[in-house]
């Protein structure tokens, strides 16, 4: 039943705002199992398929977690920027996902190591790659000015530094407000939302070019940064909805996150499903139309007529990443059914992995690496997800699950769509 009156927030130390005991107990096993699967999957890929494959699988898993974390960061920033009231009750969940950029900064070390040892990006073997692909010396010299281990590492440090800075600053301010309830904290978070989002956009698009697009060093698409961002913001909304649902199932914040919030998350998920398709198609259509070999080559390696492994995925992404969820989350009844929103969120989170797998793995080898390759890829990403979930639970156990003294909490609690 809909409530017509403003809901009074529960006291800040209400047990509904603490991490459910069942999840807290799982945190350590999740971390351990996740780490084992992550390392095991990477080594399985390296040993069973080949050196570059293992690290590519690791990169896929890493990008999977990273895109969701920075998508959640975007969610937090944009809610502050537009001074949104509805989202306050799910903002702490978003902040918990966002703060994962700190452990992810540490998990970047294997990728940095791979750049220096030449086991992931083909451009690290500059002379060999140029000779093998008959790239004109002047063109290659320009590429190498950007793609060299020193400059790459420095840039990666800057991106991760910016993310950690934004993430930690917003997280700590939000934490402090839980204690003090200062309105000025909200004001300063809003004021810094604009500059932070500019920095965020700059880092995200360059990151996409550096970490994913440079896997095919001669290929370029100015749309690629937005493409990665589109998948990132979509999956972040799904992760927020799914995590909220799981926490509610375990007894936390049951009265706070209502159908109305799921309805709004569902609307945003539906919108970003369209946004992802729009960006993906824009990128494809311009390249398809211009038909310039150095641009089409990237799609050619993923073309149904060319690659038996990745061609079907290209088709499947159109149908499963756009068509099915577009119709599936279109209905208001679905969006107002929390378990259905959670189910669709899970579905899209799976497809987000397929999307990144499709973007990254074809550059590792010509095929999927057979059954062992698929196993290694899936194992790695599952490991990464378990590790991240474990860490989220550990961090979440040390805080409250909603921003209990946010000045807009009452507004969020009373939020209604119609």
């Amino acid at each position: 039943m809909s409530h017509h009156h403003a809901v009074a927030p529960k006291p800040a130390d209400d047990p509904a705002f603490t991490m459910p005991a069942m999840l807290s107990g799982l945190s350590l096993p999740l971390c351990v199992v996740g780490l084992i699967a992550l390392v095991g999957g990477t080594f399985l890929g390296s040993s069973a398929v080949g050196g570059r494959f293992g690290m590519s699988a690791y990169l896929t898993a890493y990008m999977y977690a990273m895109t969701i974390a920075i998508g959640a960061m975007f969610f937090v920033l944009i809610q502050h920027l537009v001074r949104a009231g509805w989202s306050v009750v799910v903002r702490r969940v978003a902040e918990l996902i966002m703060i994962m950029v700190v452990p992810l900064a540490v998990l970047f070390i294997p990728i940095g190591w791979a750049v220096w040892t030449g086991s992931l990006y083909v451009w690290t073997d500059a002379a060999g790659y140029q000779a093998e692909h008959h790239i004109p010396a002047d063109a290659w010299a320009e590429k190498i000015r950007w793609l060299n281990p020193q400059w790459f590492t420095l840039r990666a440090c800057v991106y991760l530094g910016v993310y950690c800075l934004i993430g930690c600053w917003y997280y700590s301010k939000s934490q402090r407000q839980d204690q003090t309830g200062e309105v000025t904290l909200t004001e300063s978070m809003q004021a810094r939302g604009g500059p932070a989002i500019i920095l965020f956009a700059l880092c995200t698009s360059l990151l996409a070019a550096d970490w994913v697009m440079s896997l095919a060093p001669m290929w370029f698409s100015t749309m690629f940064g937005v493409y990665i961002f589109a998948g990132s913001i979509l999956s972040a909304h799904c992760a927020i909805a799914l995590l909220s649902f799981v926490l509610q199932k375990q007894g936390a914040m049951r009265d706070e996150v209502t159908i109305e919030h799921y309805h709004d998350l569902g609307k945003l998920i539906h919108g970003f499903v369209c946004f992802w398709a729009y960006i993906a198609f824009s990128q494809y259509m311009l390249i398809w139309y211009a038909n310039i070999p150095e641009e089409t080559v990237w799609f050619f390696t993923r073309y149904p007529g060319f690659s038996e492994d990745f061609g079907p995925i290209s088709i499947a992404l159109m149908v499963l990443h756009f068509g099915v969820p577009f119709l599936g989350i279109m209905s208001r009844h679905v969006r107002r059914t929390p378990w259905a929103v959670a189910a669709w969120a899970t579905y899209i989170l799976v497809l987000h992995f397929v999307d990144l797998y499709w973007a990254i793995m074809p550059e590792a080898t010509v095929g999927s690496g057979g059954a062992m390759g698929v196993l290694a890829s899936v194992l790695t990403v599952l490991g990464m997800v378990c590790l991240m979930l474990g860490l989220i639970v550990i961090v979440g156990a040390r805080t409250r699950l909603i921003p209990v003294r946010d000045p807009r909490l009452a507004e969020s609690l009373a939020f209604e769509n119609i």
Binding site: H4, F281, M285, Y289, N291, I418
Partner: protein
């Protein structure tokens, strides 16, 4: 329309009850009242508030609207319309190659499909909302209540419609009072004229009239003759800056506006790899006996642009024709550096009468009606001037040459000569002659495409067959008509002869 009619029922209307309205002071009492109205079984009730009230649909028992379904259906229709339109326009009705893509090409259609989906869906949503709400509506009887103005300001209203089955005036009044409503008031049916206000109609008429002016001006211009030059609204579209053939351009160093083909490229549709098709010779077989000649032929076909008279004459001589030495001499005098193409070097040592070239004995084109008609057209354009329309060698050029007694003229062959029949003169050889020329006849390789040359070969064979045909060659079904034509002609001739005879007799007597 000019005299406003007084509604005959005006007096009655004053007494017709439209419904009962009650005021509420706050949202919660309005919502509570709505819920009780719903629970009491009223279906035709309405609530008015100065701002949107959450949950009021549910409180009033209003069913979810079908508008989303209308929007979805219209969106789907938009997608299908856009796709069908583009497939029809560019794929079927007016095929036009754009950027080398297939005529029916889905990626190129997506943007338009996307736009039309949104356009149709938003139009359907907007106008569907109007239709579902019974809009446009100029007035509502409830506006006659002076207190109702505050519905947009600070007061909440609940209205029970008289059309509801449960409605009776006294009952409704007491029910509303029971619910806590104040100032319960009976709303009478609106007695204002039902017709659309005159100024609106006049305004609309004026608007339509003004909008017709441009169309009328255009229509008038279309039927009026004028000596003044036409107005160029888009001069850069009427006068294209594109260059015509043979014009000069300062854009390129060589000053030519026509650009030569880029080396290593082939015109669209001209990528014919089959060299036998291009030469009329089975090159595999020829290679076993005369490899250098094959190399020359291949080089000639592949560098078609640079082909001059040398190779043509050379190949013609090569073909073992009994030629006068004229073209060969001409060729060698013209030939500047192309030693390979020297016809004397090409002439087989065995002498011209033995032709060992493995000519293609069959036309590689399928002999369809279309091919023969194409051959007929091309024959009419290029060959008939000399060889005549029926191929007997008596074309206009030949007649003229005979009349002026041109000394250097070599009469064209009669194509119905036995030496040019299929058994003596294979299709491939005929093709080669058309391509490279013979005696006075120039080669037509540059003017006529290889496929059209083969079509001419096919047509020449048909011509030859037609001139030597007997009645048995005609399909049985059509023999009767021909026989009838023959007897008709015979009868006509006999009749004419008889008449002429009679006339002669008459004049002699």
């Amino acid at each position: 329309m000019s005299t406003p009619k007084t509604p005959p029922k005006a007096v009655d209307d004053d007494n017709v009850v439209h419904g009962v309205v009650a005021e509420f002071t706050d949202v919660s009492s309005l919502l509570a009242a709505c819920e009780r109205v719903r629970d009491a079984g009223y279906t035709k009730a309405d609530a008015f508030a100065p701002f949107p009230v959450h949950g009021i649909d549910k409180a009033l028992g209003i069913k979810p609207t079908v508008l989303p379904w209308i929007a979805l259906a219209a969106g789907g229709i938009g997608t299908c319309t856009a796709l069908a339109m583009q497939i029809w326009m560019n794929g079927i009705d007016y095929q036009y190659i754009i950027s080398g893509k297939p005529f029916i090409s889905l990626p190129a259609s997506i943007p338009v499909a996307f736009e039309l989906t949104i356009l149709f869906a938003s139009f359907a949503t907007f106008f569907g909302m109007w239709a579902l709400n019974g809009l446009p509506r100029f007035s509502n009887p409830i506006f006659t209540s002076p207190r109702f103005d505050r519905a947009t300001d600070d007061t909440f209203f609940l209205f029970l419609d008289a059309k509801d089955n449960r409605f009776d005036e006294a009952g409704a009044k007491s029910f509303l009072a029971d619910l806590g409503g104040d100032f319960i008031e009976v709303v009478k049916e609106d007695d204002s004229p039902k017709s659309i206000p005159k100024f609106l109609l006049i305004g609309l008429a004026l608007l339509i009239s003004f909008s017709l002016i441009p169309a009328l001006l255009v229509a008038r211009m279309r039927v009026t003759k004028s000596t003044s030059p036409r107005i160029h609204i888009f001069p850069d579209m009427d006068f294209s800056p594109a260059k015509d053939m043979q014009q000069t351009s300062t854009l390129f160093a060589d000053g030519r506006a026509m650009r030569p083909d880029v080396p290593g490229t082939v015109h669209r549709g001209e990528m014919i790899w089959d060299l036998d098709f291009q030469t009329g010779i089975e090159l595999e077989k020829l290679a076993q006996t005369d490899a250098p000649r094959v190399r020359r032929l291949v080089a000639m076909v592949q560098s078609d642009v640079e082909v001059g008279g040398d190779e043509q004459a050379a190949d013609a001589a090569d073909a073992g024709e009994e030629t006068s030495s004229e073209p060969a001499e001409e060729a060698s005098s013209d030939g500047e550096s192309d030693e390979d193409a020297n016809p004397t070097a090409l002439t087989p040592a065995a002498g011209p009468e033995v032709d060992t070239t493995p000519w293609l004995s069959e036309n590689p084109l399928p002999l369809t009606d279309a091919v023969l008609r194409r051959g007929q057209t091309m024959f009419g354009v290029y060959c008939s001037t000399c060889h005549g329309m029926n191929g007997n060698g008596d074309g206009l050029v030949n007649r003229r040459a005979q009349r002026i007694l041109a000394t250097t003229w070599t009469p064209p062959s009669n194509l119905h000569d036995e030496t040019l029949f299929e058994d003596a003169y294979p299709d491939g050889k005929l093709f080669s002659t058309i391509s490279n020329g013979i005696r006075k006849m120039p080669g037509y390789r540059a003017q006529i495409g290889a496929e059209d040359r083969w079509a001419i070969v096919a047509y020449v064979r048909a011509l030859q067959a037609s001139q030597d045909a007997t009645l048995e060659d005609v399909p049985e079904a059509q023999r009767a008509t021909i026989e009838k034509e023959q007897t008709d002609v015979k009868a006509a001739l006999e009749k004419a002869a008889a008449e002429a005879e009679a006339k002669a007799k008459e004049s002699s007597t």
